[in-house]
Symmetry: C2
Subunit: 303 residues, 2 copies
C-alpha cells in the first residue's frame, strides 16, 4: 500500500476505534451513542486532510528504519496527525486566531460553534493516545517511550501547547517559540517513526527539527505570497495579528533563501540508512509543494 492510502486508512481506523466514524446509514442514530455534533465535528477536523506531511514523515522514517512493527507505525502516524488536527481546531478558536476558514472550508468553530470546537480538540488529543495504545496492544514494549515522546512534543514545557502559550506572554524568545510551535511536532514525526520501528530516536531529531523550522518559514512565505483561495485559509494574517514572520523580517526573496538553506540542512541531517534516498526525494517534493517555482519563486524574482 502506498503511504497516502496507508495514512488515510489509519486515520479512518482511528475514528472507528473512537466510535467517531459515520453511522452505516446516513441519518441513522449512532449505535455507539456519541453526541452527533461532536462526532461530525471530529470528522470535519480530520477529513479531508491537508498534505498529511507529518504522518508521511513518520512513515518514511519508520520504513528507513526497517518498519518492524507496521501496526505500531500506523498508530504513531495517525496519532501525530490527530494531535496536529487538534492543535489546528484550538488555534482557530475565537480567542486565538479567530479563523473562519481552514483547508478551504469552514473551520470547526465556524461550522459547529465554539463549545464543540473546544471539545473536538480535547477528543482528538485523547483519541491520539487511545490509537497509540491500541496499536501497541500486541507488543507494549515500545509504548511507554512513544507516549512520553508525543506528550513531550505536544504538551508543556516545549511542545506545541507551550508554543501557543508563548503568544500570551509579553516577552517571547523567538527561537523557543518557533521550535515549540512547529519544530516540536516535526521532530515527533521522525523520532516516533524511529521508535515505532525499534530504532534509536535521538539520531532522527535534527532532521525533524530542521524540517519543522523550514515549514515555519514556508508558512510565513505562503501567508504573504499566496491568495486566500490558494492557501485555503485567510492570507496576510501574520501582518494583521502582528505575529513574528520571516517574510516580514527578511523580505520575500530573503525568506525564500532562508527556506532553501533550512531544507538543505534538513537533508544533510538524514542519518546514513537504507531509506536515505527516499527521504531526500520526499524533502525535494515537499520543497516544491511548499514554495512552488511558478507561484512563489517567479513572483519573488519579478518583484
Amino acid at each position: 500500500m502506498n503511504a497516502h492510502d496507508r495514512i488515510e486508512e489509519a486515520l479512518l481506523s482511528a475514528l472507528v476505534l473512537g466510535s467517531l466514524a459515520p453511522p452505516a446509514a446516513a441519518g441513522a442514530a449512532d449505535p455507539a451513542g456519541c453526541p452527533p455534533k461532536l462526532q461530525a465535528a471530529v470528522r470535519h477536523a480530520v477529513f479531508p486532510g491537508g498534505a498529511r506531511i507529518r504522518p508521511q514523515l513518520c512513515l518514511a522514517v519508520a520504513r528507513a528504519c526497517g518498519d518492524s512493527d507496521p501496526r505500531l507505525t500506523d498508530a504513531a502516524a495517525a496519532a501525530i496527525e490527530l494531535l496536529h488536527c487538534a492543535s489546528l481546531v484550538h488555534d482557530d478558536l475565537p480567542c486565538f486566531d479567530d479563523a473562519a476558514l481552514r483547508r478551504g472550508v469552514a473551520s470547526v468553530h465556524a461550522a459547529y460553534g465554539e463549545r464543540i470546537a473546544v471539545l473536538t480538540g480535547d477528543a482528538l488529543i485523547v483519541l491520539a493516545f487511545q490509537v497509540l495504545a491500541h496499536g501497541a496492544e500486541h507488543a507494549p514494549q515500545r509504548l511507554p517511550a512513544l507516549v512520553s515522546l508525543l506528550a513531550r512534543r505536544v504538551g508543556a514545557p516545549t511542545g506545541i501547547v507551550a508554543g501557543q502559550a508563548w503568544e500570551c506572554e509579553p516577552f517571547v524568545a523567538l527561537p523557543a517559540y518557533h521550535r515549540a510551535k512547529t519544530g516540536s511536532l516535526f521532530s515527533a514525526c521522525t523520532e516516533a517513526g524511529a521508535l515505532a520501528a525499534g530504532a534509536d530516536p535521538q539520531v532522527w531529531q535534527a532532521f525533524g527539527l530542521c524540517l519543522g523550522e523550514a515549514y515555519q518559514v514556508a508558512d510565513d512565505i505562503r501567508d504573504v505570497a499566496f491568495t486566500t483561495d490558494l492557501l485555503g485559509k485567510p492570507n496576510g494574517r501574520d501582518l494583521a495579528l502582528c505575529r513574528p514572520s520571516s517574510a516580514t523580517e527578511l523580505g520575500l526573496s530573503g525568506a525564500i533563501a532562508h527556506f532553501d538553506q533550512l531544507m538543505a540542512r534538513a537533508v544533510d541531517a538524514i542519518p546514513p540508512c537504507a531509506g536515505a534516498a527516499a527521504l531526500r526525494a520526499l524533502a525535494r517534493a515537499e520543497s516544491e509543494r511548499l514554495v512552488p517555482q511558478a507561484t512563489v519563486r517567479d513572483l519573488a524574482l519579478a518583484a
Copy 2:
C-alpha cells in the same frame, strides 16, 4: 504513607515530570523554558485540590486488589485527577459555564485569561497520559489497557468530553448525559485501580458507575442547598443555566432520598475482596462529606 499524602505526592511528581513545578527560586527563570503563565495556570488548576475523591477511589480499589505495582497505581490515580482538573478548566470557560470561581478561588480563565485556560486543559490532558506512560516504564504490560480505559472514559463516544457535548444538542438522553458527564470518570477510577493492580476491571465498573451517579445527584443537591461560600463556586447555576437537576425534578428531600439509594447501591456493588470493609467506610465518609447532616439534611427536614 496515607492515601492523601500519596496522592499529593503523585500529583507533585506529575508536575515535575511535565516541568510544570515551580522553579527552585521564586522569580527565577524556568530552566525548562516553559511559558510562565502556562506553568502557573497548570499549578493553579491542580493545587490546592478539592477532595481528590477520584484518585482516592483509584487507590482504594488498587489496595483492595493487592496493589502489586504501587508506582503504576500512583500514576493512574494522578492521571485521573489531572484529567478531572482539565475538564473543570474547560467547563469553566466563558463559552460553557463562564464560572469565575472554582474551589473558592478564581477559575483559571478568570485568573489567566481564556487562551491560557484552553491551553491549560490541553496540557493537563497530555500530561495525564505522559504520567501513565512514565509509571509503566519498568513494566509496560498493563499500559495499553490503562491508556485505552482512560481514553474511553474521557473522550468520545461516552466519556466526559461527550457528556459536555450533550449540552450542545437540542435533544439529550438524560441517562446518557449523566453517565458520560460524571459516571464515566468514576468508573475509570475503580477500573483503573483494578487494572493497575493486575486485577479484572470489569467487576469494578458498577461500583464506580453507582458512585458517579450519586455524585451527580449530590452536585445537584449542593447547588441548591449550599451557599456560594460553602460550595467554593457560584451556587444556583443549574436553575440559572436551565440544566437538568434532580433537586429541581424531585425537590430537595426527594433528591436526598435518591442520593441515599444510589450510595446504598454503590456499596452493594463492591465485589467480595479483602479491602471491602475499607471501601464501605470510604463510601460512608463520602456520603456525609457530600450531603452533610447539619447543613443539608436538617435543612431539608426544616423546610
